[in-house]
């Protein structure tokens, strides 16, 4: 669905992406995993054209992503960031329907879409008239998701969607998100630094560090057949607390 080939990106003197090649399969959930500063968020933004790579190319559905078509192609790529990225001056409904209204969707279709999305994202409809400041962080995240899904895009990009949530909200939303991904059978690309979260969502994992792909494939491969010393370290660092938890419970 999305092909990233030999992409490099410099921010000033820092190379944040170093000849990265990633293939995102259609209808599956690909997790971009890695430590902070590893280049995963940059890669996500390269995929939807928010960041132009210095070299290499990106294809969306076989079509090269260029400066000219990026905005149009983004209508087929819903994008969710931490805390929703909602516009504070618009209500929840205003945020969700902004683009649809701008593109000239009729009010009836917009309303039908809203109702369906409320059900899908499990957001009580009475919250639609609230402003982001009047919503909890979990609710804001649901609204952000609804905004990304409004035009029924082929691809959904999520950047640490659960990053800003407390554990209980996080686990509720995590479950709901997986149901949605599986139910809609969309191509999903999700960025996280959390191994457990990656394991929860991933059909495919790409582990990025220092701007390079350390390993890509299944979660099982990552854990059982680490491709490098770094992968071993990364997995161990995140597994140890979980193992300690398991021991304490036993």
């Amino acid at each position: 669905m999305i092909e990233v080939r030999e992409v490099s990106k410099w921010f000033g003197p820092n190379r944040v992406l170093d000849r990265v090649t990633v293939s995102v399969p259609e209808g599956r959930t690909t997790v971009l995993l890695g430590p902070s500063g590893g280049g995963k968020s940059t890669l996500l933004r390269v995929m939807n054209g928010l960041i132009r790579p210095d070299s290499g190319d990106v294809r969306f559905g076989g079509q090269p992503l260029t400066a000219n078509n990026a905005r149009r192609l983004r209508h087929q790529m819903g994008y969710v960031v931490q805390d929703g990225g909602l516009f504070p001056h618009l209500t929840a409904a205003g945020n969700i329907t902004l683009l649809a209204r701008h593109l000239g969707e009729g009010p009836n279709r917009v309303r039908t879409g809203l109702v369906a999305l409320c059900e899908l994202a499990r957001l009580p409809a009475e919250l639609l008239d609230r402003y982001p400041a009047e919503l909890s962080s979990g609710q804001r995240q649901r609204v952000g998701l609804m905004r990304a899904l409004m035009l029924d895009p082929a691809v959904l990009l999520l950047d640490e969607p659960l990053g800003a949530l407390d554990p209980i909200t996080r686990s509720q939303l995590q479950g709901d998100l997986r149901d949605i991904f599986r139910g809609l059978k969309k191509t999903v690309i999700l960025v996280t630094h959390d191994l457990a979260e990656a394991a929860y969502f991933a059909d495919e994992v790409v582990l990025l560090a220092g701007g390079r792909v350390e390993q890509s494939g299944s979660m099982r491969d990552l854990i059982q057949r680490p491709a490098s010393r770094f992968v071993t370290e990364f997995v161990r660092a995140q597994r140890e607390p979980l193992d300690a938890l398991r021991e304490a419970a036993a």
Partner: protein
């Protein structure tokens, strides 16, 4: 506006300006004290009055003739009569107006404009037809350094500029040194030379006189005056100090009402130091073709305005008699011309001033918004160009308002339009700067969200950026509005009307009621505007931006 024969004129009566403002005109000083003045001089002569009556039929015939000529007069451009901010020339302008109307010609009053540069530029820019001036101001200030001496030379110089000058009206308003009569008698001082013998005398001059070459520095050199104890003070304060005896000598103008009020004498200028400031009317020569009747009407004043009559008229102005009424009484007594003066009620006047002020502010602010908002957007998008734009607007802001208004006259003449242009220029910076700042302060995550959605740049601007910056933009407009309301009071300097009129008149006449008549409504308008913007903020700034997040 079309006028036929007699026109009520009082709606122009109260135009006011404080002329000085550092522009250095000698003839503009407010020389009024809140005190009663002596009744008109014994010179207000009976025999000449009789003489007048003999001629009185002539103007009557002219009035009749003017009615015959009504169609022409109706289509004629009104004669535009101006004056500086001071009371004396404003009264003279009203006298001219009564005579011109009496000759059947419509009149447009532009009295109490700012100082000499304002009226002179207005005359040159064909925004005025005639105004009262002093020969000394023409030779010493306007044509300074050209060494013009004598009436003929002055007339020739003016002629080169397409301007004419009447013969002297009959009085001079010269600089002179004044002392209390009793003090002068006690010391035996009659002339300026006599002051040499009294080095201990305390002298107080207006600050302007202290600096002018034809003021104290030149005077001291010419007469070799020994006095060291010379203080600079406000002209009115100097009169007060003189009357109380805390100073012995001050400079004055020979037509000041205070000369009689405080029983002063003027010292003889025995070495002929002071230039002669004879009153004349300066006019555009083309007026002789456009409105010959008007020119002959005001030329009737030649040699007919005595110093005593002027002192008496200035005295009535001190008593707060409106200049138009003083002028009407003068033409009635001197020329048997019946001039009507229609008083405007306070309420009507306030309403008119409010409308004028609102027009100035509304049009200027509207234009500022229309221009500064897009420029602010450009400034936010292109920081390099933005720096230049905001720099230019800031530069405009540093031009003193008075100077900006003077610059306007050659380009746009006088009245409402140049005032609005000046206010518009002043209004740009706060709106432009706040728009740019508001847009730049939008969090990058918001900008990214808008872009990630795939909104077009225009939709992003209208639906996301401007609403997010709305609070800052509105604050800029509010600042601009309040500044504009205040600055608009200076519009009266170039005849734009509004609350500045009574303020400037009141400053000239030392009339507190008159000052407050403009200042209080201006303050209320500023406060009300401030309040209105607070309300507008609730409507225009999206509610979501006024909430504090709950989590």
């Amino acid at each position: 506006m079309k006028y036929v024969a007699l026109i009520p004129l009082s709606r122009f009566g109260g135009r006011g300006v404080r002329g000085e403002g550092g522009l250095g005109s000698r003839v503009l000083q407010a020389r009024t004290l809140a005190a009663g003045a002596t009744p008109p001089a014994p010179l207000s002569p009976l025999p000449p009055m009789r003489e007048e009556r003999g001629i009185a039929r002539f103007p009557l015939a002219m009035v009749l003739a003017s009615f015959v000529a009504v169609p022409a007069a109706t289509f004629a451009q009104p004669v535009r009569i101006g004056s500086k901010a001071d009371t004396e020339t404003t009264i003279l302008a009203e006298v001219v107006a009564h005579l011109v109307r009496d000759a059947g010609h419509p009149v447009e009053m532009k009295t109490r404009l700012g100082g000499t540069p304002f009226v002179w530029d207005a005359l040159r820019a064909d925004s005025l037809d005639v105004y009262p001036e002093y020969t000394g101001t023409l030779t010493e200030q306007i044509f300074a350094g050209r060494g013009i001496r004598g009436e003929a030379a002055l007339r020739e110089e003016l002629g080169r500029l397409g301007l004419g000058m009447t013969r002297p009206l009959g009085f001079a308003n010269n600089y002179a040194l004044g002392m209390r009569r009793s003090r002068a008698a006690e010391l035996g001082v009659k002339s300026i030379s006599d002051l040499r013998r009294h080095a201990h005398l305390v002298i107080g001059f207006s600050n302007e006189f202290m600096k002018r070459e034809d003021g104290w520095p030149g005077l001291q050199a010419r007469y070799a005056l020994p006095q060291r104890n010379v203080k600079g003070m406000d002209h009115r304060v100097a009169y007060e100090a003189l009357s109380k005896g805390s100073i012995d000598v001050t400079e004055l103008y020979t037509t000041d009402a205070e000369i009689r009020l405080f029983d002063l004498i003027t010292l003889e200028d025995d070495l002929g130091f002071f230039p002669i400031y004879e009153a004349v009317l300066v006019y555009r020569l083309d007026l002789e073709e456009r409105a010959p009747a008007a020119v002959s009407a005001f030329k009737r004043l030649e040699g007919r305005v005595t110093a005593d009559a002027v002192i008496a008229m200035n005295g009535r102005a001190v008593e707060k008699v409106p200049p138009t009424e003083i002028g009407a009484d003068f033409v009635r007594e001197q020329f048997s011309v019946q001039a009507t003066v229609e008083a405007e009620s306070d309420a009507r006047r306030l309403w008119r001033l409010t409308l004028e002020h609102l027009t100035l502010v509304g049009v200027a602010l509207g234009a500022s918004i229309l221009v500064a908002l897009p420029l602010g957007i450009v400034a936010a998008r292109r920081p390099g160009l933005g720096g230049v734009l905001i720099g230019i607007a800031g530069l405009i802001q540093t031009v003193p308002s008075l100077a900006l208004l003077v610059f306007m006259i050659p380009l746009l003449k006088t009245g409402t339009v140049p005032a609005i242009v000046a206010l518009f220029l002043y209004g740009l910076l706060p709106i432009m700067a706040n728009t740019a700042a508001g847009l730049k302060n939008i969090p990058p995550s918001m900008a990214e969200s808008a872009e990630a959605l795939g909104l077009s740049p225009l939709a992003k601007l209208i639906r996301v950026d401007l609403p997010l910056a709305s609070r800052s933009i509105l604050a800029g407009i509010k600042t601009s509005a309040v500044i504009t309301i205040g600055t608009a009071t200076l519009g009266a300097l170039i005849g734009a009307g509004g609350y500045g009129q009574p303020i400037q008149t009141g400053l000239q006449m030392n009339d507190h009621r008159e000052i407050l008549f403009g200042a209080v409504p201006a303050a209320i308008m500023a406060l009300a505007t401030h309040g209105l913007f607070e309300l507008a903020e609730r409507v225009l700034v999206p509610r979501g931006l006024r909430l504090t997040p709950i989590a």
